[in-house]
């Protein structure tokens, strides 16, 4: 039996009161924003407010770690299965928003076409696929990770081991990408060497999840969701009320903002002369007219997210099967709440840009908005080779440099097409562009760093849970053995996070590439195996092994052999072609081999997973 400590009891009580926790967190963030505004109004430099923000995050992480600390392997991996669906929904929504690339979404909408739609709808569809096909059955089985369920279903440690390795590789690649984004965004605000930022960010993740595991991860990620929701929806709602008198920007932009944007663009097109041009560069964005490529990207993201560890990781800690559906319901609703405001944010930013940039003259420095020169020498976190703001192709250093880059005629008017911003600049500079107080920029900046950290939290904790049961298929009834295994898990998680932070800081020319391969591994290998394990009784052990090995070979071939990578779809990431090829190979080999071999269904486990009136066969660690 589990001996519950006082802190675990307090933790369980808090986990079951997610709404109260979210309200308290929201109030704390609003109070912090008001304090930052007061600090600014005293005339103190903005760097003081930035320093306040930076030094707030680490103590909060330490507090979460201390409050959730445990020496129980059960507590660390599944929190005694006491997690409320609301809490899981809040935490999963934070991870889902991070994978959508919330900071660059407004820039993608600016870029045009259906690329932004792929990134908004794909992950959401993935959550639906994961919930309908995998999550409740994973919870009903009683397993603490996907690999444990697969190992039990096929009565084979090797099958579980291969899937565990694939899941960990996928999680690590996504974590690497998330760390690169977090370090890139943090370097916008902190004048510190990259190595120091990497250490600080890795430390923040580790103090959150090493002591308390799933409780620490969920509590921190719920806090991140609240911070992001306030940072994004607050200013957009403010503008919506001030400009249109309508307090729900998620539903109002189609009628109000888009009409204004269209009027201005119609006039610019009528005037002609190259006044109107694309203002945003999005690395790797799909061409505006290529809807088929956007659809392929949407499916790629949906398949990858459906079996991603940040989504399935919290599932074993939820109270029951119905609560798993409910937590996904909260995840989707909470995601829609924030995602729905992003087109409105893009619309207001576009109006702000037109207000700031139309009709300005190189001969009159007062007409240039000051925010335009405040980014250089900063680079985009999504593409470190790109300056955040450029004028006539040169980084926006000052007016003289801009004038030189644009031809040197000081009497000329600047054209809208002369200005180019990186995708994340639209969101990060939203406060300045829209003429809001600078504390808004501070909150959005904080959210842009915290979101990838939430994703890293969830991935590292889920990988730790996989490792906790990777080497053994049976329960650890001995508390001493459970404690030593928890120690091993913590060492693994520390190495996992440190390596991801190091790679994210120093080996990420394009942070999205690692993320794409993480999604490809999850969608091309883990998802089909999970679906067949749960839904196809005839799926055999040998078929699972062969399918996973061939699928991994296909992914590796696309990743490392240029001759194979040449067979990829033009204009889309190589990882996407690799994922679809791997998906086809996994299903094909699994079906052919299973049909050739005699049936070996593990009927008791399948019944325990799928029938309503059966108890779980697998158990979480007793200690």
């Amino acid at each position: 039996m589990i001996e519950r400590t006082a802190s675990a009891n307090a933790s369980a009580s808090l986990l079951s009161n997610a709404g109260r926790y979210a309200m308290l967190a929201g109030l704390a963030i609003i109070v912090f924003a008001l304090l930052a505004m007061l600090v600014e109004q005293t005339g103190a430099p903005q760097s003081l407010a930035l320093a306040l923000t930076s030094f707030l995050v680490l103590p909060v992480a330490v507090f979460v770690g201390i409050q959730t600390r445990t020496m129980s392997l059960n507590e660390w991996t599944v929190a005694q299965r006491t997690c409320s669906p609301t809490f899981a929904g809040l935490a999963q929504a934070a991870s889902l928003l991070a994978i959508c690339g919330l900071t660059t979404l407004a820039g993608r909408i600016f870029h045009g076409g259906t690329d932004a739609m792929a990134w908004m709808i794909g992950p959401v569809l993935g959550a639906v696929i994961g919930t309908v096909l995998v999550a409740p059955y994973l919870r009903k089985s009683g397993a603490i990770s996907v690999s444990e369920l697969v190992a039990a279903r096929h009565s084979s440690r090797i099958v579980g081991l291969i899937l565990a390795m694939a899941s960990i590789v996928s999680a690590f690649l996504l974590c690497w990408s998330a760390m690169a984004m977090a370090i890139g965004e943090a370097s916008h605000f902190l004048a510190m060497p990259k190595s120091m930022i990497a250490i600080a960010i890795a430390a923040t993740v580790l103090v959150c999840i090493l002591p308390g595991g799933i409780r620490g991860s969920m509590r921190a990620n719920s806090l991140v969701y609240v911070a992001v929701a306030i940072a994004v929806i607050g200013p957009v709602t403010w503008l919506s009320i001030a400009r249109n008198g309508w307090p729900i920007p998620q539903l109002g932009y189609g009628i109000n903002i888009l009409a204004d944007v269209n009027d201005i663009e119609g006039q610019l097109k009528t005037i002609g002369g190259g006044l109107l041009g694309p203002q945003v560069d999005v690395p790797g964005a799909i061409d505006a007219g290529n809807s088929l490529a956007s659809l392929a990207m949407m499916l790629f993201l949906a398949c990858g997210i459906g079996a991603a560890q940040f989504f399935l990781g919290p599932v074993p800690a939820i109270r029951g099967r119905a609560a798993t559906f409910k937590s996904s319901g909260y995840t989707l609703m909470l995601t829609a709440f924030v995602l729905g405001a992003i087109p409105a944010l893009a619309g207001f930013a576009k109006l702000g840009l037109y207000d700031d940039l139309l009709g300005i003259s190189f001969g009159d420095p007062e007409t240039f908005p000051s925010w335009l020169f405040s980014f250089t020498p900063l680079v985009s976190a999504a593409d470190p080779s790109m300056a955040m703001a450029r004028i006539c192709g040169a980084p926006a250093v000052d007016l003289q440099a801009a004038l030189a880059a644009c031809g040197g005629d000081s009497e000329q008017l600047a054209r809208l097409a002369d200005f180019r911003l990186s995708a994340d600049t639209i969101t990060l500079a939203f406060g300045s562009i829209s003429g809001l107080p600078s504390v808004i920029g501070l909150l959005i900046g904080m959210a842009s760093v915290l979101l990838p950290l939430a994703l890293a939290n969830a991935l590292a904790q889920a990988s730790g849970s996989i490792v906790a049961r990777m080497a053994v298929a049976t329960d650890v009834a001995n508390p001493v053995l459970a404690t030593s295994r928890l120690f091993m898990v913590r060492v693994f998680v520390a190495a996992f996070v440190s390596a991801a932070a190091w790679l994210g800081a120093f080996h990420s020319a394009d942070p999205s590439i690692a993320g794409h391969w993480g999604i490809a591994t999850s969608g091309g290998l883990v998802l089909p195996v999970m679906i067949m394990t749960i839904w196809w009784g005839r799926f055999s052990r040998l078929a699972a092994i062969l399918a996973m090995l061939c699928s991994a070979s296909v992914l590796a071939g696309y990743a490392f052999i240029p001759g194979i990578a040449a067979f990829s779809i033009d204009g889309l990431p190589v990882a996407l072609s690799a994922a679809f090829a791997a998906l086809a190979v996994t299903f094909g080999i699994a079906i052919i081999v299973s049909m050739l071999l005699p049936r070996e269904t593990n009927r008791p486990l399948l019944d325990a997973i799928r029938l309503p009136d059966t108890a779980p066969l697998l158990r979480a660690p007793s200690w």
Binding site: R4, M120, V124, L251, P612
Partner: protein, 74 residues
Amino acid sequence: MQVTLAAISVAAGLCVAAMFTGNSAASALAGIPADMLLAALLIPVAGGLLMFAMAGWQARTSRRNNISDTDIDA
């Protein structure tokens, strides 16, 4: 069953509303059809409602079979 049907009806209604509202929206942003922008909002809402409906169905099935729907270790 009633909860499930109600939630599915609301979800379907939202999708239809998105199509009509999108078509009648004043304009589009940066070349993206307005109905797609609305779909980006309404797909997760509809998905969320579907999940709540399935949770209700699951809880009802458990009650009908006289089994506990929660399975905690504590």
